[in-house]
Chain length 367, copies 2
Amino acid sequence: MSATDLPPHDHAGRRDRARQRLGDMSASHLLVTDPVNVRYLTGFTGSNGQLLLGAEASVDRLITDPRYDERAAASCPDLDRILDRDPLGATLALAPGAALLVEASHLSWRQGMKLTESARDAGVTVKDADGIVESLRLTKDTAELARLAVACRITQDTLAWLFSEVVAVGRTEAELALRLERAFIDAGADGVAFPSIVASGPNAAIPHHEPTARQLAHGDLLTIDCGAEVDGYHADHTRTVAIGHLDTELAEVHETVRRAQEVGRAAVVPEASGGEVDAAARRVIEEAGYADAFVHGTGHGVGLQIHESPSVGQGSAATLRPGMALTVEPGIYLPGRGGVRIEDTLVVTAEAPAQELTDTPRELLVL
Amino acid sequence: MSATDLPPHDHAGRRDRARQRLGDMSASHLLVTDPVNVRYLTGFTGSNGQLLLGAEASVDRLITDPRYDERAAASCPDLDRILDRDPLGATLALAPGAALLVEASHLSWRQGMKLTESARDAGVTVKDADGIVESLRLTKDTAELARLAVACRITQDTLAWLFSEVVAVGRTEAELALRLERAFIDAGADGVAFPSIVASGPNAAIPHHEPTARQLAHGDLLTIDCGAEVDGYHADHTRTVAIGHLDTELAEVHETVRRAQEVGRAAVVPEASGGEVDAAARRVIEEAGYADAFVHGTGHGVGLQIHESPSVGQGSAATLRPGMALTVEPGIYLPGRGGVRIEDTLVVTAEAPAQELTDTPRELLVL
């Protein structure tokens, strides 16, 4: 499936599923202020848009400002619009006497304090419903999985091209990042999922390294962590390769991470917790004596955000269900020497094994 | 000055100026949680970093997590680090009994409610100090102005190249945006200041149009609103050109916007208010009979954010001072037919006229 041949989103259906939660919480309205959640429920992608969701679909309104009126009309023709630069004020005016749910992590403290005050005057009760829309987003629908698959396919194919055609002694990290990101766009991506990490030699010991003018040298490890974005959906994919030659300890470190990632992927099954996936991968690294060198969680959910639920870190109680998308990306980092990370994007399936949206060979590639 | 030859930032000096405000507000600490403000005061650009600023510089701490330890050490070597994924908890532990200022627009409502509770137990009083750092950022220092100038120079030169070498009947909006943004990077930009707006024909009536596959046609108006980003500083520049031929009314609309922008630029003088700049430009458009077709403010401050203080919209009381950077960008939008916007980035100077960081010719260019 190409980026231009994707099934449409069912925004109205998603809003109806969110609406069911209103009843569960004895609420009459939900004000969605997280731009990602607004996009999920409406398709609107402007920088200023809020969704007021009512108990009946006829109450639903997209609140935006005049700059976005035409764009909103085009991207969500099935939603009435309110043009108002004060969405909290507009909400109170639209829903006097409401039992209003809000996303308290996606209002500022200042907005929250002001809303509390004005709501009193409007006879509106306000309740924090953080996570309502995120809970719907946890399990990806067909339209979402199709976009994740295309984003991952573009990412994997482009990374393979970069390794075979571009990576060479003397190239700089910044040059590789630039060539990679351009190639994503040429391949049909809408953008990059996050600024690419291209980390070589000692820089590979920095998990979130920003590409520099450092030139690849014989004996380097090279970690590339990258992703294409397609219609808002993010791929996340990492491989570490060796340039020319690799000393024995670093080769063993690579093999340890490879095994940890394999075990981690195998632990991605329905009803497992995110913490169990983390523990499975982490145990391999601990047993090899590198516990302190694995300084981050094993993975994270991925979708409209590059990091989203479920958590796949230490102690995470999040339960994996079919349709969830997540990464498995253990790593070992040795300050001053280098590091290794291997990462794939997976979808939990009813029957193990999980579907691998990226599956670039994981054996150590020496270029 | 090129992007590689820029004066260093004086982060410690900026922190000392912020520190003076603590005394003014009888506070012992300020917790900076807005990532842009953290960057301004420290140089740190990771996705998770907070600055705890004390009454003495020795108290200052950058709070981040292990992923960013090496990067923080490299980008702010003069600041001690605390690695803790709960910055609010870490703050209370570092500053028991403090009179703590926070940025209530840059904490979520949820965080604010939690902080109120935990602060009580730690004997910490919490007070909203929104805008403290923003007030320092209003007036740009030498290092900042140098970066804005380079970003604007790259933007202007690249736009000139695009108009002369690339724009032609048959090219798509998306293709022009892509070529433009790549050329920014080739010219030394660190990125794009915002997704470029390339709006042709009827699409030019949409102020924040996203580039589409629409092909340029004879008789179109074409608006390109774009900017390069250099070390975090944003350029913002717009021109509308005509493709091949233009009907008389649209040519008159262009001339009206050109005059409005000229009058707006001339109003950018010390002690003027942002509202006065807006009113000056708006009056020209109103007198031409297009009041309802100018659907946004005349401009905005620009710097580490593409939109920041001072406001240059209707009724803005913000007083302009030397060293402030802002845009002047009136526009007229005629749904179904097209639109015109002319925008430059300026710096307020002690003596008028303001310094124009972009000054692409403003007469109607017919390509």
